[in-house]
Symmetry: C2
Subunit: 334 residues, 2 copies
Amino acid sequence: MTTKTNRVTLTQHRKGTEPTTTLTSVDEVELPEPGAGEVLVRTTWLQLPAVLADLMRPDPGLPMPGFEIGATVGGPAIGTVVASNADDLPVGTAVVHRLGWQDLVVASAAEVFPVHPGLPEPQYALNQGTTAYHGLVDIAEVGPGDVVFVSGAAGGVGSMAGQIAKALGARVIGSAGGPAKCAYLVDELGFDVAIDYRAGDLAEQLRAAAPDGITVFFDTVGGDAFEAAVKAAAHGARFALCGALAGQLDDSEGAHPRLDIMTAIVKELVIRPFSTLHTPEQIIAWNTHYGQWLAEGRIVYPATIVDGGIADAPAVLDGMLAGAYRGNVLIRVQ
Amino acid sequence: MTTKTNRVTLTQHRKGTEPTTTLTSVDEVELPEPGAGEVLVRTTWLQLPAVLADLMRPDPGLPMPGFEIGATVGGPAIGTVVASNADDLPVGTAVVHRLGWQDLVVASAAEVFPVHPGLPEPQYALNQGTTAYHGLVDIAEVGPGDVVFVSGAAGGVGSMAGQIAKALGARVIGSAGGPAKCAYLVDELGFDVAIDYRAGDLAEQLRAAAPDGITVFFDTVGGDAFEAAVKAAAHGARFALCGALAGQLDDSEGAHPRLDIMTAIVKELVIRPFSTLHTPEQIIAWNTHYGQWLAEGRIVYPATIVDGGIADAPAVLDGMLAGAYRGNVLIRVQ
């Protein structure tokens, strides 16, 4: 008996801001039998971080390599072991893998990682908290008394960052697009203030929300958010930069905001872009707190869940890039 | 008998890049007699840092206030006490003051500072080494093994920064405009490599000079120099930013270069703009080394000396902004 799977492959590289649906195809392919030490995994959840669209570029300029033409596209995923030749991974084990958008994958034991047993549901493992925690704790050294501004606060990283900053004792301001996302930040995620960047000048709104200036900027957006943060920063403010979503959207100046050097000098800002390719130590540091804070109700797991199949992933990614969702974007595979 | 002096006053604020000669007038005014605890000082040397042009703007956005209309213009100066009612400042004492472009000034003892006795000549006190030393030692933490890129390397701050970086054990690359200044950097100041930014793409020249990347960027220029440094930086490079001369020259985008956020993230740059309004501790830290390094021949005092009067100062400042001089620009008052 042969086993077949659907998979999404890259048919052409992304040059501008084309929808990823136009760059990919869905193919049915035959899978080999799992060999010694291998498992067959049925994918149950897909995570769709914005970086996937950048990894479709011919030269992404990221810490990890991009997708080649013909390669399977995808990011982090959860699956269930359905056949096993590996002693440590019995049938039924929930695992994380990064083998892309496929219904079924054959993987070596080294390519899959059991979901941490302290999590309430397997999909909780698909979060971007390591980036948020590392940026806030190691890069910006956030603590009580800080006024933290999180851009892209309704996104996968930003929604975790705001909650973590609150847990660290800071006052937290988040920006997002539209009143619904802003209400979500305050009502569901516990932000102190939410700013709708579409509702007026961002720097002016920031100054009103933080009259003495922001002391920390956690940036996932770049562009106008970066320029506004420089204007609204207090003396000595620390900037932790981990993304440039504005550039992913418009592919032009968003990822290259202007730096007002004289203002930055007067304010003696500390600007630290940092990599999201995390070390094991960074991942462990986050997970040490994650399960506990969830159990204590100090943070929630912010996710938008879309029910769909493997073939729907490119369209959901396009929707996420266009701002249609909030929090971490997941497909619950049907 | 009354004492008169020439002084340069601001007649209108600088809005664009007008020559400062058009914004100032030279007036003869009467001086009061020195009172108790005061001295009469004859100015012998003027220092002309680029920041003076910015201080003529209505809202300079600098750590120190700008010049009001009608105020005496000027920066650091050296003078000799010619009449004294202050016990600690006998006639003949060489002093530093900041009372502006005037032949004679009446000053309280608190407004003048005796020149450090370890210096070979009084004008050596008019240097911008504190900014260079603080930026290299405290901000960028330069040491042996570093590859340091200094922009505006033939300027008052840059020429000291390159020499100090060498004294700290680094390999030093400087950029300047034109072959004469570049030869000066290598032949007289001991830079390892000089790059003529007019001779080709700055980033390409930097990459050729530092194939493994620069580890430190000491920036006095902003603009293209900043953007090239991001391109040519090694992973983890430290950026110490203390000026935006490109903005002083063209008043447009030079002081607001674009920050390529994704490249900065991949390289995990540490970008630290810092104030040139120095603390006493910073000044003392520099002067502890300055006289000694001069005496040991490890650094030279880079200055362009222009013979002239008080009334010539605006024209000399305009020439300096246009790149006519190298090193620290001084007027030896006739």
